[in-house]
Amino acid sequence: MTVVDTLLSGQLLFAALVTGSTYALVALGLNLVYGTLRVLNVAHGDVVMLGAYAGYWAFTGLGVSPLVAAPLIAALGAIAGLLLYRGVLRRMLGSGAASSVRLEGNSLLLFFGLSIILQNAAALALTPNNRGYSYLDTVVHLGGVAMTGHRHAALVIAGATCIAAALFLSRSLAGLTMRAVIEGREAAYIVGVDVERVQAMSFAIGFASAALAGVLLSMLEQFSPFSGFPYTIAAFIVIILGGLGNVAAGLGAALLLGAIETYGVALTSANLRSVLLYGVFVGALLLFPRGLFARRAARA
């Protein structure tokens, strides 16, 4: 197969779409949490990993279809997010120094510690082995492209959730309030927005969508207690490129990242997957050294 054939194959396009839409879903949650609280939850990918385990147990232990279990697992994720916000985050942010850059750097260490705890607790309790299961792996042919059922399902669910979230943020009052907090926390507070409630809500939505993404990913590929972190990195790339609180642009950025990864690996070798991911990550951060603050200021 020549290079051109590789690039034009519908198979690759489909793979890129599936990868991109799952990245978009993972990034959606991180975007809302980071946007409203300005703390970077590097344990976000580990919530994805826990969601994957929940989906795995639902299917292999209870015999429940992951698609049926997904809403329930997402709800559990939301509850975990709320508890974490009430228990730890509010207290840390309440200490008053939250605005300083140094504390933001430290808060990253806090979440990094949490990430290490989650990964190793999972490895301790659930063994560090790779796990996977096959569900809905019937192949559907569509115009010469062979697609497995679970990839289809993941693409549709992840895509639909992102579109629903974009509509929620642009149409509903609660969504507009959330965007107001993302754009300017103090200003939103002054005009009467209950900032704390919005932050709690975005934490809940953030964890729920991460857990949902985990369930979808558990259908697609093998995972271990340590497979969460690359998703944090991918989500972070999407936020840098797409913009804070901008879910529609995030979807575009996620599809771009999915395409870069899928086509990059297809053209070179699977060994370069991580090189590509971290290369794009470092490149994106260097291009936007202040993350989105600089771009927001430029737009305003």
Partner: protein, 317 residues
């Protein structure tokens, strides 16, 4: 904090403890067996790494989560030039390589602040790690066996020198005009720049200074491994451990890193061999717990206790 009588006494006690520690570590190879010397080598390695990390991250507040990249590059250079370059040259070149790498990536990377800087340094280290892994896979040399490495006592004293050099470097920087400049940009970079602190140059110098010794530490530690695997010398947990040790100790002098290193190294020696996952859990808990509850570490807690004791009339808050 003004120097009080109590803290002057405390610093005299501290000076004595430090001298005793230096002497004990120096005498170790003459009195102890290989196992104890290897353990001492580990302690010296972490001391050198943590003190070096502090030169950048404690002084400037730019928290590097990617310092393992310097260690890994140094180790890799020694292995690649194995039995082609004399050892002393390879070790010095490892330090130079780490410093040059820091100087090259420093300018763009140090423009990024706060949590972005933390995660970016992690990304840079992982990018270098995966790039070298891919290059090794392409050339079919994933691991190497090193013949003819120098004996343990030689390696031990090389590491002793590096740990001492890193401690002296941090002490020197912390007490200098340059160090005050770094502290000022840590507290408020714009204000420091307005007052005439050359922040860009200072940050870059601190970055380069904190990179050179870890490069040499990696080079010396590579001599210990008869079987060399690239993935291991770029293990992100090496960066995390440096941070945990420095955070545990607290303060921005040499005292905190020494206390933190002693403390965490003891825990790791007790747990690593038998219960590595439990050790990792403790490491994570130390990171999260100290950031949340005691961001100034052991030194901060001690200072608070001393302040409370020296002002007994004041009611506790």
């Amino acid at each position: 904090m003004p120097e009080t009588l109590a803290s002057a006494g405390a610093s005299r006690i501290w000076g004595g403890t430090l001298a005793a520690l230096a002497l004990a570590l120096g005498a170790l190879p003459f009195v102890a067996n290989d196992y104890a010397v290897a353990t001492g080598l580990g302690l010296l390695m972490w001391l050198a790494l943590t003190q070096s990390w502090c030169v950048l991250s404690k002084m400037t507040g730019y928290v590097s989560l990617g310092h393992v990249v310097f260690y890994g590059l140094g180790a890799y250079l020694v292995v690649v030039t194995w039995q082609q370059w004399p050892l002393w040259l390879a070790v010095l070149a490892a330090g130079a390589l780490a410093a040059v790498f820091a100087a090259l990536v420093g300018l763009p990377v140090l423009r990024v602040r706060g949590p972005y800087f933390v995660i970016l340094t992690f990304g840079v280290a992982e990018l270098v790690r995966y790039s070298i892994l891919a290059a090794e896979a392409a050339s079919g040399t994933a691991s190497r066996i090193l013949f003819g490495a120098p004996d343990l006592v030689f390696i031990y004293f090389a590491m002793y020198a590096l740990a001492a050099a890193a401690t002296l470097l941090l002490a020197q920087v912390a007490g200098s005009r340059f160090g005050h400049g770094l502290r000022s940009l840590r507290e408020n970079e714009e204000a420091a720049e307005t007052l005439g602190v050359p922040v860009v140059r200072y940050k870059l110098i601190a970055f380069v200074l904190s990179a050179a010794i870890p490069g040499m530490v990696g080079a010396v530690m590579a001599l210990r491994s008869t079987y060399f695997v690239v993935g291991q010398v770029f293990d992100p947990m090496i960066s995390v451990t440096m941070i945990a040790m420095a955070l545990l100790g607290g303060g921005d002098g040499t005292r905190g890193p020494i206390l933190g290193t002693l403390f965490l190294f003891t825990i790791s020696e007790l747990l690593w061999a038998n219960a590595p996952l439990a050790y990792m859990l403790i490491l994570g808990a130390i990171l999260a717990g100290f950031v949340l509850l005691a961001p100034d570490g052991i030194v901060g807690i001690a200072a608070k206790l001393r302040a409370r004791r020296s002002a007994p009339t004041k009611a506790p808050e």
